[in-house]
């Protein structure tokens, strides 16, 4: 076992933070360490928090983490890691990561570790290495891992595959009741939070969400993998009914109830087969992503100098279509 992995397992924070960078940068040492850490993981409970920009995700994450560090309900004290993702600029590749601003209440607590991440070109609301960062925290002994996505609109649903419990945060004044029946982000909620509940319009927003939940026939949320046959097994287990919780994250009201709902969902997952199924779906999704990244990386390595540019010129001048160009470029690898 490498030295850095030993130190991370022994709780050394400097080694952990450096390892997180290596994982994020896709460095070989990071990948090696992840392989060594993987058998030590699988104990943490992963809570995803997602929602549109400005709905109060960071403040809510702050409150949830604070609760696990200062349990007001007599619950167990837990070590908490927070992974907060913000978008990278598509032009410069730079980013301003501002989620810590809302998390000042957690500073000075050795049982909390907050790490900001830039999305680095990923479009699903997380970075491509977020799953790796989460695995490192898990192996390092953090019992609760809170994952905050970039401000998500409708399609950034990767979080639902990664987290055990997905909390979708809404706020009054965003969209009408048709928004509420579209597929995507609302559909992935295990718990719906209406934050900023002290604002006008709260009744309307809550009603629209309630109607949306009532319109739907409850379904089991099984993720499909393109490489696995659909199981098709009819399960006779209880279905989870997505609850709605009002909060005011800046004051902390509703947070105790929200944490109670998270605990209830966790029980539901373990009392049904959902936990095992989600675990499998999560690892399958990660495997799929890594296969895709690896294939592209291999292909890039084998791509001749200037081939891509030459083909692009042909496409731009409309001599060949993007589809033909792609087939041509992929075909080149066998030469």
């Amino acid at each position: 076992m490498s030295e850095i992995v030993q130190k991370v397992l022994a709780g050394d924070r400097l080694s952990l933070t450096r390892l997180l960078s290596k994982i994020e940068d896709g460095a070989p040492e990071g990948q090696q360490a992840l392989a060594e850490l993987f058998p030590h993981g699988g104990r943490a409970f992963l809570i995803g928090v997602t929602g549109a920009p400005g709905t109060g995700k960071s403040s809510l994450v702050n409150q949830i983490a604070y609760h696990y560090r200062h349990p007001a309900d007599g619950g167990e004290l837990k070590r908490v890691a927070i992974v907060a993702v913000d978008p990278s600029s598509p032009f410069s590749g730079g980013a301003v990561l501002g989620d810590r601003i809302r998390m000042n209440a957690l500073t000075g607590d050795a049982g909390v570790f907050i790490r900001s991440m830039a999305s680095r070109g990923s479009l699903g609301g997380l970075a491509s290495t977020t799953a790796g960062i989460v695995q490192a925290f898990d192996a390092a002994g953090f019992e609760i891992i809170l994952i905050e996505t970039v401000g998500a609109g409708q399609a950034e649903v990767d979080i639902a595959r990664l987290a055990h419990t997905t909390v979708v945060v809404e706020a009054p004044g965003l969209g009408d009741d048709v928004q509420a029946i579209k597929a995507g982000i609302l559909e992935i909620a295990d718990i719906l939070v209406v934050n900023k509940a002290d604002r006008p319009g709260i009744e309307q927003t809550e009603r629209a969400l309630k109607n949306m939940l009532q319109l739907a026939h409850p379904v089991r949320r099984d993720f499909t993998s393109p490489y696995l046959p659909a199981s098709g097994e009819a399960l006779n287990e209880a279905l989870w009914m997505t609850p709605i919780q009002r909060t005011v994250a800046t004051e902390g009201s509703g947070v105790l109830e929200l944490v109670g709902l998270i605990a209830k969902h966790r029980e539901h997952l373990s009392s049904t087969g959902d936990l095992a199924r989600r675990e499998r779906a999560r690892l399958a999704a990660e495997l799929d992503m890594l296969i895709q990244l690896g294939l592209v990386e291999n292909w890039q390595k084998r791509l001749g100098n200037g081939q891509y540019e030459e083909t692009l010129v042909e496409v731009v001048s409309r001599r060949i279509s993007p589809g033909e160009a792609a087939r041509k470029l992929i075909g080149m690898e066998s030469k």
Partner: protein, 134 residues
């Protein structure tokens, strides 16, 4: 898929509430392709050092307009070193009297920037600093 980025914390220690300069710098570093962790106002040296550790930054940028820099800067440097991050570059901006600049540089500050500094210079200095370290 190896993509290393320069990571920088931009923080405002102490009690003054003017963060426009810090935001301008944060934006300029972002546009230069860096990942900037913006911690906001009223940070203690302890909070800044803790964030520097958790975020594994290459540099820390402090904006001080209150005149408290001779107290705040040594404390931040001390805490960074205590955490094993003595190699992290500390860059200082704000209202810093000329006579303090040599003293601050002697303490180990990597750069001091007063009003009117071009953000291009700051970007270049941070790049050079991180480049030499790596």
């Amino acid at each position: 898929m190896n993509q290393e980025k320069i990571r920088v914390i931009v923080a405002k220690p102490g009690l003054d509430g003017h963060d426009r300069g810090a935001k301008v710098v944060a934006r300029a570093l972002r546009d230069a392709g860096m990942e900037v962790i913006y911690t906001g106002l009223r940070q203690t040296p302890e909070m800044i050092a803790e964030a520097a550790l958790q975020e594994d930054v290459d540099a820390v940028g402090l904006s001080v307009l209150s005149g408290a820099h001779m107290a705040l800067v040594p404390r931040v440097l001390e805490l960074l070193a205590a955490n094993g991050q003595g190699e992290v570059g500390l860059f200082l901006g704000g209202i810093i009297p000329d006579e303090d600049v040599p003293k601050l540089m002697a303490m180990g500050v990597a750069g001091v920037y007063g009003p009117g500094t071009s953000t291009i210079d700051i970007v270049q200095d941070i790049r050079n600093f991180v480049g030499q370290k790596k």
